[in-house]
């Protein structure tokens, strides 16, 4: 154990961990049922499933990097699908209006959350838990039962291929590339500084409150975007459409190697984490288990990943002064 310590201390978890999980799970799938991994059409299905999760994992990475968390994304996704489903007749200009209105709603939601996080001593989890409840409630009020359809215009816009490649693939690639550019901006550096040591960040001049607000606004807007996409993919709305995204987005970030205590994180790694997580339904199918086992294993993988992460972090810290 003693010899492991220097190796562990210098290991860049964010760079390495997601690939460890990816290789482990992809290998297992490949050995058991290769067609599910590399078969035709798999890329499309996979990217379509990954894209909304990647969107939410993007902003969740930033929230967790500030030592916070956003539990309200689930509620926002649900509310968005509910609102779209009840406006399935929208087309042309009214469709644009609908989307703009939804984004404005996201902006509002994120601003409220962000302001409360920035200016009170309340922890983000309690604030976003409350917001989750509020948005969930709104989703129920708007659409008590699953149903409705998505506006055809939306389906045309978001689904299908461009130059033979699924639009969702473009989406994921875009997020990945966007991160490569963003990670060197003052914004992201500030976000990590806040999670690393908020008191010192303030001392050094980081605009802590403003950054926190930006993070939660981004989170809400991305949740709305994800909700719009989910609407199109499922061609319906549901008052609990967003629930799975909460646990899953946090799992992406943890599998991506980020510390749950903040200061680190990479959206690129979280996106890999999304791919890892979404291998689970395939694995479940490959092993001939009921599809409901996916839910269990997603939770289980989160627990395993976060335990490994916590243990490694404690291990590293116990050696230092």
């Amino acid at each position: 154990m003693q010899r492991l310590r220097p190796i562990l201390r210098h290991l860049d978890l964010v760079a390495v961990m997601p690939y460890v999980y990816l290789i482990a799970l992809a290998l297992a799938l490949y050995l058991k049922f290769p067609a599910l991994l590399t078969g035709p059409g798999r890329l499309n299905t996979r990217a379509t499933a990954v894209f909304p999760l990647a969107l939410i994992a993007f902003s969740q990475t930033l929230a967790i990097a500030t030592r916070g968390i956003d539990l309200s994304v689930g509620g926002l996704v649900s509310a968005t699908t509910a609102l779209i489903a009840t406006h399935s007749g929208a087309k042309g200009f009214s469709l644009v209006l609908l989307v703009v209105a939804l984004l404005a709603l996201g902006l509002l939601a994120g601003s409220i959350t962000g302001l409360i996080v920035a200016f009170t001593r309340l922890q983000p989890f309690i604030i976003t838990l409350a917001m989750w409840s509020i948005w969930d409630g709104i989703a129920f009020v708007v659409l008590p039962v699953e149903g409705g359809t998505a506006p055809p215009g939306l389906l045309r816009l978001l689904l299908g291929n461009v130059a033979g490649i699924p639009k969702s693939v473009y989406g994921v690639v875009f997020l990945y590339v966007a991160w490569l550019w963003l990670r060197h901006t003052r914004f992201v550096i500030d976000v990590k500084a806040i999670g690393s040591d908020e008191a010192r960040a303030r001392l050094v001049g980081v605009p802590v409150a403003w950054r926190k607000i930006q993070v939660y606004v981004l989170s809400a807007v991305f949740a709305v975007l994800a909700g719009i996409y989910v609407s199109a993919v499922t061609d319906s709305g549901a008052p609990n459409a967003g629930d799975q995204f909460i646990l899953n987005s946090v799992a992406c970030v943890v599998i991506g190697g980020a510390s749950i205590y903040g200061g680190t994180g990479s959206v690129a790694s979280s996106i890999i984490g999304a791919f890892v997580l979404l291998l689970i339904p395939d694995l479940v199918f490959a092993f001939n288990l009921s599809s409901f086992w996916s839910v269990f294993f997603e939770g289980f993988l989160l627990l395993v990943a976060v335990t490994i992460s916590s243990v490694v972090i404690t291990f590293r810290q116990s050696g230092a002064g």
Binding site: R9, R186, F187, V204
Partner: protein, 520 residues
């Protein structure tokens, strides 16, 4: 009032010119404790000004006021003749004051380059920082200051403490400040790095800056500074050019004349028994305690001295089972290896921790609840707490320690610092320990409470309790302890007792001079 040094002719001519940086008549109190009582420091451009004093003299409070982390209750600060209103660290930075604190300000998860240039990155377009130019700028700066070896992309938390301290200093310098304040900046540096620091600070001063160097390492202040101010008990008791202040005069000013009545009189011969309560053989605790062999007898008071960070904290915490340790520990004749504080308590060892606010008391709980905390098994029958026994515990603690309070139900946070410390002591003593560990027990406590605590220590020893206490106050060590072990670099550098046990010897051993340990 303390004595002020008479001005020599040379000094008179310099100080005919008004000081470039002056902190005049600064007062600051925390609750009942007066940290600064009219301290005045006058610095000049082109000079390195040293500020020395023992722990508790007020040095770090003064620095915090200068850098905007605290507000003075009274007094004023002038820079270049202008009155400064420093209400926040931001104001201080704007005024051109850069402080290198003991408590570093580097952000652990960011890289060397990011930390060095935060807020002033060389190439920023659309909010995006050019990594390449940042790296190049960092490399240039590091080479310029003589540290080409540190990689700019390395995450700061992976650096050694000494390198972090150097980085902090470079960071302060690259912003070309008017005033550079260094608070115990050499505490983690190796001798070669200390030389580098001196050279760099002298260059800074010669280019017209004002350097303010706080330390309690006398040798360093003598080597680096042109002018010196001595603080004691919150006021300046002497100042002058370094060339006109010999070492023994400085030491005398630092220590001053103590009120001998502060310390109770007690004959060690009468109370120290032969029986050894705890004995350590090649005992160590990572990261800073390496090899310590010592023993404490019943009724004996052993003091631990030395500069901060030499392993004292590890020693006390490891003895209490709160830190991992290696080596041999014998308690009342039996070899033990304590793995937790509850084990230690059960074996008769009790600890008064360093920071009563963060490690000692639960401030939002009541006094009664705090007193009961470490003694739950004695005031309970099975899982239930017996209110009568608790009442008895509270009453006896409050009475025997003369704790001034309105009611045991009041919150611990509403008591004065001294009374809070007494509550902590009361809780610890109620467990009837055979070995009492005290970590800087009189820090931040008023004189009256200090006297009470000293008396308490003697009373406990009369009853056969062994006491091991760490103090940053050399006078306290000299007057209270039967034997003092001065730690340096995780080992015992000097064992002082009898006639050799004086404040001067303790301070000397701590900073590197004086009598060395002759016994193994």
């Amino acid at each position: 009032m303390g004595e002020t040094e008479q001005l020599t002719e040379a000094e008179q001519s310099t100080s005919a010119r008004s000081p470039d940086l002056a902190l005049v008549n600064i007062h600051k109190s925390f609750g009942g404790v007066r940290a600064l009582v009219g301290a005045t420091v006058e610095c000049y451009r082109g000079e390195v000004h040293g500020c020395i004093g023992e722990n508790g003299a007020g040095k770090s409070t003064l620095i915090k006021i200068l850098s905007g982390a605290l507000h003075a209750d009274a007094g004023e600060i002038t820079l270049g003749g202008r009155l400064l209103h420093v209400r926040s660290p931001h104001d201080a930075r704007k005024a051109g004051i850069r402080t290198v604190f003991q408590e570093l300000s580097l952000i652990p998860h960011l890289s060397v380059a990011q930390n060095l240039f935060y807020g002033a990155e060389p190439d920023v377009r659309l909010g995006r920082i050019s990594v390449r130019s940042l790296r190049a700028a960092a490399r240039k700066v590091l080479a310029e200051y003589g540290f080409p070896g540190i990689s700019p992309d390395l995450v700061v938390s992976r650096l050694q403490l000494a390198d972090r301290q150097i980085l902090e200093i470079i960071k302060a310098l690259i912003s070309k400040p008017e005033v550079l304040v260094l608070d115990e900046a050499t505490s983690a540096l190796l001798p070669k790095q200390v030389e580098w620091l001196f050279k760099t600070v002298r260059e800074f001063a010669s280019e017209g800056g004002i350097a303010f160097f706080i330390s309690h390492r006398l040798a360093e202040v003598e080597a680096l500074c042109d002018r010196v101010t001595v603080l004691r008990n919150g006021e300046d008791v002497g100042h002058g050019l370094m060339t006109e202040m010999p070492e023994d005069r400085l030491v005398e000013l630092m220590l001053g004349r103590r009120i001998e009545r502060l310390y109770p009189h007690s004959e060690p011969a009468g109370r120290v028994r032969d029986e050894v309560v705890v004995a350590l053989e090649h005992f160590g605790a990572p990261p800073r305690l390496h090899d310590v062999s010592m023993e404490v007898r019943r009724g004996q008071i052993v003091g631990i001295g030395g500069l901060a960070g030499q392993g004292q904290s590890e020693l006390l915490l490891a003895l209490y089972g709160a830190r991992r340790s290696y080596g041999q520990m014998t308690l009342n004749g039996r070899q033990v290896h304590l793995r937790s504080p509850s084990q230690a308590l059960a074996s008769g060892i009790a600890l008064v921790p360093e920071d009563r606010a963060s490690e000692g008391l639960c401030l939002s709980l009541s006094v009664r609840e705090n007193l009961a905390l470490g003694n739950l098994h004695t005031i309970s029958r099975g899982p239930l707490i017996s209110p009568r026994r608790e009442q008895r515990l509270v009453r006896s603690s409050v009475n025997s320690l003369h704790i001034r309070l309105r009611s045991p139900r009041q919150e611990a946070s509403s008591l004065s610092g001294g009374n809070q410390q007494k509550v902590l002591l009361g809780r610890v003593l109620a467990s009837d320990p055979s070995l009492l560990l005290l970590y800087d027990a009189t820090r931040g406590v008023d004189i009256g409470t200090k006297t009470d605590i000293y008396q308490l220590m003697h009373d406990q020893c009369e009853q056969g309790v062994a006491i091991l206490f760490y103090s940053t106050d050399a006078s306290e060590l000299a007057n209270m302890a039967d034997e003092v072990l001065v730690l340096h670099d995780g080992t015992i550098r000097a064992r002082l007792s009898g006639a050799e046990l004086t404040e001067e010897q303790i301070v000397a051993a701590a900073v590197g001079g004086g009598k060395q340990a002759t016994r193994a």
